[in-house]
């Protein structure tokens, strides 16, 4: 298997990927891709024969966000279906959190344990820092509503026919 550079729009995100990533971590990942692009050559996106990502969905998204036009990939087209499923799990370390719903529904627990995923451990930091029965936030309902940015899109209107469209 050799690394090749492929246009970003040819690579497909894997819809079965059981991992999610939060905004802050994603920003860090984008930053990491920008600052250390050689990392991608050392650890390229792994795709199947159809250019579907087997390993590196988050990195692919980060590459696109970072504006990369061509992305290094490794075609793992010799893996069996079973090996591909195993690879998706085994490869996922580092960034991202497990999305437990697909993980618990679509993946066999016995295999997950075999592949080294500790399905029982609680991810850290999912609760508020305030602890049980914690403090109440000091902002008001109006403050909350006021923090919503106006996301309406400016309207354009044709002066002749009156047709309206979004800018």
């Amino acid at each position: 298997m050799q690394i090749e550079y492929v246009k970003a729009n040819k690579i497909k995100i894997n819809p079965d990927n059981p991992r999610v990533i939060k905004d802050e971590r994603f920003k860090k990942l984008v930053q990491s891709v920008r600052e250390f692009p050689k990392m991608l050559e050392i650890r390229p996106i792994v795709v199947d024969a159809n250019m579907m990502v087997l390993g590196g969905n988050m990195r692919l998204r980060a590459c696109i966000e970072a504006g990369m036009k061509e992305i290094p990939v490794l075609r793992a087209d010799t893996l069996t279906d079973e090996e591909q499923r195993r690879f998706i799990i085994a490869d996922n370390v580092g960034f991202g959190d497990w999305d437990w719903e697909p993980l618990s529904n679509d993946w066999d627990s016995e295999q997950l344990i075999d592949w080294g995923v500790n399905v029982w451990d609680q991810p850290s930091g999912i609760y508020g820092d305030d602890g049980f029965g914690g403090k109440r936030p000091d902002f008001s309902l109006d403050d909350a509503i006021g923090s919503i940015k106006d996301n309406s899109v400016a309207e354009c209107k044709c002066p002749k026919c009156g047709f309206q469209w979004a800018k």
Partner: protein, 453 residues
């Protein structure tokens, strides 16, 4: 015939026609696929639209998969142009309340829209559909549309991409009538003959606990079974009308695995509801349930080679409209946190049983209740839940915010439930009495977790 837009709450989407067989083929969207097909067959042109381009089509359809979609829609409200109130058709499993959308929706479909969407577009009166010009709407709901669609299209259970089951409609024709579950109370049952040849369930293995087939000789070998027990103690299950799931039945089911199956290892996934309003510590420490595993495990011979892994996945109770528990409060006791601290589990020689770490939080249950119960004038509460300030909070802080700023009828105990735009098909009043009798019988004056928060 007109243009129908499928609403995508993403970037600006230009109208892009959907040709038959090129969209919504994912099995997760089978119901919506049926609706798109019906639109196309009725002669409409169907494509994607965003809020900014929704005005360019004649009607817009949007499926609320869960209550999250309701909040997504509210937070995107300002992106729509005037006139959307004559176009937007809402429906889907997450649709529980039309009021928050009264000024932006043309029609709201409660329950399934299959086999009715063309009529909704045409504005015909339909029993489970609310139109924004209806004042005295009372509807009744009959399910079976999807079943008819499946029959027509010839899709068989077990078909689907990558060998997934063809469809996941475990609630179609559900006769369990759990008191907390919306599906069985909002929807009418189909007749027996409509269910002939129809098998529901997740990967063909969602059964009641007593029906679990671990794989007899010559039968299908299931080494991964899923079922719902809906309560960690027998009295909790009895209170919500799951009296059929006794501790003895659970023990028998576990024994059957070791008596019948040829598998060396099998998994059993149990869905369980926690956070009931009358719940006590005993109901969430899982000791009663874990003791059952220990009893079975210790009864096995030393040479027993088979192993059973049990996953227990919990969801926090939400009072859903049209159910006997609709007026109950959200229990803000954070069961998720409690379980995280105590990590109840049983690790034996042949049986390992653990609670899955991800459980929905009471804050999410409160948000869902707020959507379910919002009335005219309550828009600001839903809007504040979509705000960046609110969304930066931890789950306990969210609970604090809602308790402090929101009226109790939106999250607490209430008799003031909106369902005047859909007629419940059952005599809910008497069922609610039966439910409350259960609470009195099984819990009496016990101190509940609700009392502690």
């Amino acid at each position: 015939m007109g243009k129908i837009g499928v609403l995508i709450l993403d970037k600006q989407v230009r109208f892009r026609q959907i040709s038959k067989g090129t969209a919504f083929d994912d099995i997760k969207h089978i119901g919506f696929r049926a609706i798109i097909d019906e639109c196309i067959e009725a002669g409409h042109e169907v494509g994607y639209v965003s809020p900014e381009t929704a005005h360019t089509v004649d009607k817009v359809v949007f499926s609320l998969v869960s209550y999250y979609e309701a909040y997504n829609l509210i937070s995107n409200k300002t992106r729509f142009k005037k006139g959307i109130e004559n176009k937007l058709i809402l429906g889907g499993a997450g649709m529980s309340n039309a009021i928050p959308f009264r000024d932006m929706a043309y029609a709201v479909c409660f329950g399934r829209g299959e086999n009715t969407i063309a009529d909704i577009i045409a504005g015909k009166p339909i029993e489970n559909v609310w139109y924004n010009n209806d004042k005295d709407f009372t509807g009744k709901y009959e399910i079976g549309q999807l079943k008819r669609w499946i029959d027509t299209k010839g899709i068989q259970h077990g078909e689907g991409p990558k060998g997934l089951s063809g469809f996941q409609e475990s609630h179609l024709g559900c006769r369990k009538k759990c008191y907390f579950c919306q599906y069985t109370w909002k929807n009418k049952f189909v007749k027996d003959d409509a269910l002939i040849g129809y098998k529901s369930g997740l990967n063909d293995c969602e059964n009641t606990i007593a029906e679990i087939d671990w794989g007899r000789e010559g039968g299908k070998q299931n080494n991964h079974n899923i079922t719902a027990i809906d309560g960690a103690t027998e009295r909790a299950r009895r209170t919500v009308n799951r009296a059929n799931i006794t501790n003895l039945k659970i023990i028998e089911t576990l024994h059957r695995f070791f008596e019948q199956t040829a598998h060396e290892v099998a998994t059993l996934k149990l869905y369980c509801v926690v956070g009931y309003p009358w719940e006590t510590q005993k109901d969430v420490d899982f000791k009663e349930l874990l003791d059952l595993f220990e009893i079975v495990d210790k009864s096995l011979s030393d040479s027993e080679p088979r192993k059973l892994h049990v996953f227990i996945t919990c969801t926090h109770f939400v009072p859903m409209p049209f159910t006997p528990m609709q007026g109950e409060p959200v229990n803000a006791f954070n069961v998720r946190e409690y379980l995280h601290k105590h990590k109840p589990q049983y690790v034996g020689r042949n049986i390992v049983a653990k609670i899955m770490s991800q459980i929905s939080s009471p804050a999410a249950a409160m948000e869902q209740a707020v959507f379910n119960r919002s009335k005219i004038g309550d828009d600001k509460y839903m809007l504040s839940i979509t705000s960046p300030l609110y969304n930066k909070l931890g789950s306990n802080e969210k609970i604090g915010f809602i308790k402090k700023h929101f009226p109790e009828r939106l999250w607490g105990r209430t008799d003031d439930i909106i369902h005047d735009y859909i007629k419940a098909p059952y005599d809910l009043e008497n069922v609610i009495k039966a439910y409350r009798q259960n609470v009195e019988t099984f819990y009496g004056n016990n101190k509940t977790n609700l009392d502690t928060v």
